[in-house]
C-alpha cells in the first residue's frame, strides 16, 4: 500500500501522475490500464482541488493505492468532513464546455464510487488488469 498527501493546488497534478505511474510500474496491469487509471485519478483529484477546496493550498488531498485482486484500488480523500459532494451525471457538452470529467472517470475504470466518511469524502476507483474501456 502507498499513500501520498498533497496540498490542494493544481501544480501538484503532475506530481500525482508521476507518483502513481511509479507505483503502477511495479504492478502487472499493463501500460494501457495504467494510463487509464492515472487519467481517471487525475480527473478526481482535479475535481477535489477545484470544486471542494477551491484551490486553497492549505487544504489537503490524500491518495492511497493498493492491490485489489488482479488490479489496483485507488482511494482519494478530501479531508473535508463538512464538504458536500454531488456527482452530477451529465453528457459532456461543447456548448457549456463541461461535463467531460465524470464521463472520463466512469469510462476508464471498472468501478467508481463516492462515500461520505468521517474524515471527508472518499472516492474509490478500481481498475483491473487489461480491462475494458467503454465508449
Amino acid at each position: 500500500m502507498a499513500i501520498y498527501i498533497i496540498q490542494a493546488s493544481l501544480k501538484n497534478l503532475k506530481n500525482v501522475r508521476n507518483w502513481l505511474k511509479s507505483i503502477l510500474d511495479n504492478f502487472d496491469i499493463g501500460e494501457k490500464a495504467s494510463f487509464q487509471l492515472i487519467t481517471a485519478v487525475n480527473e478526481v483529484v482535479t475535481n477535489v482541488i477545484v470544486h471542494t477546496h477551491h484551490e486553497n493550498p492549505v487544504m489537503k488531498v490524500g491518495i492511497k493505492v493498493e492491490p485489489c485482486g488482479d488490479g489496483i484500488r485507488v482511494e482519494i480523500l478530501d479531508f473535508c468532513p463538512k464538504c458536500e459532494v454531488k456527482l452530477v451525471e451529465q453528457e459532456g457538452s461543447v456548448e457549456s464546455e463541461s461535463g467531460f470529467g465524470l464521463r472520463i472517470v466512469r469510462s476508464l475504470v471498472d468501478h467508481f464510487e463516492h462515500r461520505k466518511v468521517e474524515s471527508g469524502n472518499l472516492f474509490i476507483l478500481v481498475k483491473h488488469a487489461c480491462s475494458r474501456v467503454s465508449s
Binding site: L10, K11, L13, K14, R17, K32, F35, I38, T39, N42, E43, T46, I49, V50, E91, G92, V94, E97, S98, F100, G101, R103, I104, S107, L108, V133, S134, S135
Partner: protein, 118 residues
C-alpha cells in the same frame, strides 16, 4: 507545458497558427495555454492547428481549452484541427464523444493540405 507557436500558410494561402503543445495538457497547464490562444484570436487569426504529437497526457480541462479554441475559430469563420495525437490521447476524445467534434490528422502537414474543409 511549453506552447510553441508558428504561422504557416494553408492550401488556400491563408495564415494558420500552429500551436505545438509540448508536455501534459491538464487543468494547470491549460491555464498557460489559454492566454496564448486568446492573444492570437484577438489579433484576428481564425485558422488553427493544434499539434499534439508531443502531448503525452490530456484531461477534461485540456479538452475544454481545445473546445474553446474551436468555438472561437468557427465564430471567426475559420477552423481548428488537431494533428499528431497519440492513440491514448485519441481515446480520451473518443470516450467523451469529442472525436466527432474535432478533425484529426496524422501530421501538421496533412492538416495544412486539407485546409479547404472547415
Amino acid at each position: 507545458m511549453n506552447v510553441q507557436t508558428e504561422i504557416k500558410k494553408d492550401k488556400k494561402g491563408e495564415d494558420v497558427i500552429i500551436f505545438k503543445l509540448v508536455g501534459d495538457l491538464d487543468a494547470f497547464s491549460s491555464r498557460e495555454f489559454k492566454p496564448v490562444m486568446i492573444d492570437f484570436v484577438e489579433r484576428g487569426y481564425k485558422n488553427y492547428i493544434v499539434d499534439l504529437s508531443e502531448t503525452p497526457f490530456i484531461d477534461s480541462s485540456g479538452l475544454v481549452s481545445l473546445i474553446s479554441l474551436l468555438k472561437r475559430a468557427k465564430m471567426l469563420g475559420g477552423y481548428m484541427k488537431i494533428a499528431g495525437a497519440r492513440e491514448e490521447i485519441k481515446e480520451i476524445f473518443n470516450i467523451t464523444g469529442l472525436d466527432k467534434v474535432f478533425e484529426f490528422y496524422d501530421s501538421v502537414d496533412e492538416a495544412l493540405n486539407s485546409a479547404e474543409s472547415v
